[in-house]
């Protein structure tokens, strides 16, 4: 693919604040129609990256081309073609859902009628049609996210930035929003940049992932590229009411994708390759006549890695920052 076809193409992007470097020489690219996940714990620099790429913040150094434009000299032109869901939905509580969309529509040069029509369509699509004329004050986080998502899509942007789209949502709302994002990305080849600290979410949606930690890019590639390292150990906790007996441990260990099984006070922890291995683990328990009270598949969370890295960094201050990807395959503290 030629350079010209890239939706985002940035090189050595750096920005610091008085408190320190927020983003250190970031180089990455995004191809048309792909979902690119920026993955990292809080403070990794995801939001800063998004602001830089949309021309809201200026870099200290580095260069970027987004939709073929220079974000820092052609910002208005660029922002006409991008849509952003900020982490905090940023709706004005004094207005109704639809009024919040109308304002943005007018700013984007739509007529009032066109903005209303398009806004209403989107709200209905996101199941918020019945709340369109209600003031946003008192709406749940999930409802706000959906309205803000509608606002970001009002002008049918070519490039969509989503900052922590599922933060603060309950599991059901999370699933709704993740499904929604999946369908948005499929819309006529729209490119999506997804900032998140949930590995699972990124894994589900992203075609490529950039793993950031403390402003530094540690890994960049397709989930396939990274999965081997990132998901080599998928943790499943089994509640069996009592410690797993040695024959069960042996049976579990002999399963194809199970790397390790350890008995615990109430059952066992099994390390498998992926979520798909969970049914076979449960089946093995049943075959061994164990009573299964609960199965808790635990998506790897970057917070775990963050703490592991912090501990490691504290142990050896002189050594350079450890590789994040490597850290994923290290045992996750429980």
């Amino acid at each position: 693919m030629g350079e010209r076809d890239l939706v985002i193409d940035c090189e050595a992007l750096t920005r610091s604040f008085p408190a320190g470097v927020a983003l250190d020489a970031l180089t990455l690219d995004a191809r048309p129609g792909e979902v690119l996940a920026l993955l990292g714990p809080n403070g990794a620099g995801k939001t800063t990256t998004m602001r830089l790429l949309n021309g809201v913040l200026l870099p200290d150094s580095g260069r970027a081309s987004v939709l073929g434009l220079d974000p820092w000299t052609q910002g208005e032109e660029l922002r006409r073609r991008t849509g952003v869901l900020t982490e905090n939905a940023g709706l004005d509580e004094r207005f109704t859902a639809l009024e919040n969309l109308e304002f943005v529509g007018r700013l984007r040069g739509m007529t009032e009628q066109a903005a209303r029509k398009r806004g209403m369509d989107l709200l209905e699509r996101f199941d918020m049609g019945h709340r369109a004329d209600v003031r946003v004050q008192g709406f749940s986080t999930g409802q706000r996210k959906r309205i803000a998502l509608a606002r970001a899509l009002l002008h049918d942007p070519e490039l969509l930035f989503l900052d922590e789209p599922t933060s603060g949502l309950d599991p059901a709302a999370t699933r709704d929003v993740v499904d929604l994002i999946g369908s948005l990305a499929a819309d006529h080849g729209r490119t999506v940049v997804l900032c998140t600290h949930f590995l699972g979410e990124a894994g589900k949606l992203a075609s490529r992932m950039a793993v950031l930690f403390r402003g530094v890019l540690h890994a960049f590639g397709t989930p396939g590229d990274l999965a081997a390292e990132l998901w080599s150990r998928f943790e499943v906790r089994l509640d069996l009411g009592a410690p797993a007996a040695p024959p069960l441990i042996a049976a579990l260990t002999s399963l194809p994708h199970v790397h390790e099984a350890v008995a615990t006070e109430r059952g066992a922890i099994v390390f498998t390759s992926a979520r798909d291995d969970v049914p076979s683990v449960v089946a093995a328990c049943v075959r061994e006549r164990s009573t299964v009270f609960g199965v808790d598949p635990r998506d790897p969370n970057l917070e775990d890695v963050y703490f592991a890295l912090e501990a490691q960094a504290a142990r050896s201050r002189s050594t350079p920052a450890p590789d994040l990807v490597g850290a994923f395959s290290a045992e996750v503290p429980s």
Binding site: R51, N54, V56, L57, D60, G62, G75
Partner: protein, 282 residues
């Protein structure tokens, strides 16, 4: 293509103001403000107190007892007291207070209204957490600034002018039993209202914009702004009173000086108002 280039902004071709975007900002902010009690209440109460209750009580006082203002007049330097000593005794209180003393005080109205509105327009975005999504929209920094400026400036001038109309009606009506004529508006007041009041509103704006970029919420902005604005008010009121009594020319010149300060403040404010700076303080 490269990053921070200090001359880039200066070298960029001057682009025309996008009035559609400016209007969209203004319409939204105006609609929002009219729904906000915290903004509307002080905006209406203060003018009401100053422009309706004050003239009524002065007129009543002048009507009821023969309050003697010659003592006050004697305290003033001869030249300053002159315009008032010329009118009949029973009219002196009304002319002194309503014709002269209230006018400078009246400047609190545009100052306060513009400060409240600008605080809401600039610091309020941060407080309501709507600033980040606003910065991601295709509106130029300068157009955003202009929209926010106008939506604070125009209503504060409008409130001042409408308030003054109200003041004239109330003052003339309630002083009628003493004056037997409509003595408002005076030429001096016209200078204060048409020339000085908008300048003072612009000063209030200039200060609040600077303060709002730093402050994290409206309250903080109001406090910071108040600390700067209040001493100015006292100074301005005292100065204007003296100037008014010494004639229309000096009053007009004082207005010019205030305009210079206002323009300087706002030009600096516009320069400080950049996306990057706002995004760095989110």
């Amino acid at each position: 293509m490269t990053a921070l280039d200090p001359v880039r902004d200066v070298a960029a071709p001057k682009q025309r103001t996008d009035w559609g975007a400016v209007r969209a900002i203004m319409r939204r902010d105006l609609a929002a403000v009219t729904r906000s009690k915290a903004v509307m209440l002080p905006m209406l109460l203060v003018p009401l107190l100053m422009l309706v209750l004050l003239p009524m009580s002065v007129a009543l006082a002048a009507n009821g007892s023969a309050l003697d203002v010659t003592k006050i007049l004697n305290m003033l330097p001869g030249r300053l007291a002159e315009p008032i000593s010329l009118v009949p005794n029973n009219e002196q209180l009304i002319i002194l207070v309503l014709g002269y003393l209230v006018a400078p005080l009246f400047l609190i109205v545009p100052l306060m209204v513009s400060a409240v509105l600008a605080g809401d327009a600039f610091a309020g975005e941060k407080e309501r957490k709507t600033l980040e999504s606003l910065l991601h929209l295709p509106i130029r920094d300068r157009d955003l600034y202009i929209g926010k400026l106008l939506v604070s400036f125009i209503p504060s001038v409008a409130v001042s002018w409408l308030g003054y109309l109200l003041f004239c009606v109330v003052a003339n009506a309630s002083a009628w039993p003493v004056m037997h004529r409509a003595f408002m508006p005076t030429r001096l007041w016209a200078v204060v209202i048409l020339w000085i009041a908008p300048a003072v509103a612009a000063v209030g704006l200039g200060i609040m914009v600077r303060v709002s970029i730093r402050a994290n919420n409206t309250q903080e902005a109001q406090q910071l702004g108040g600390a700067v604005v209040l001493p100015l008010v006292v100074l301005a009121v005292a100065q204007t009173t003296a100037l008014m009594l010494s004639g229309i020319r000096l009053t007009f010149l004082a207005g010019c000086a205030i305009w210079v300060v206002a323009i300087w403040l706002n030009v600096r404010g516009a320069r400080a108002f950049t996306r990057d700076r706002m995004a760095a303080r989110l």
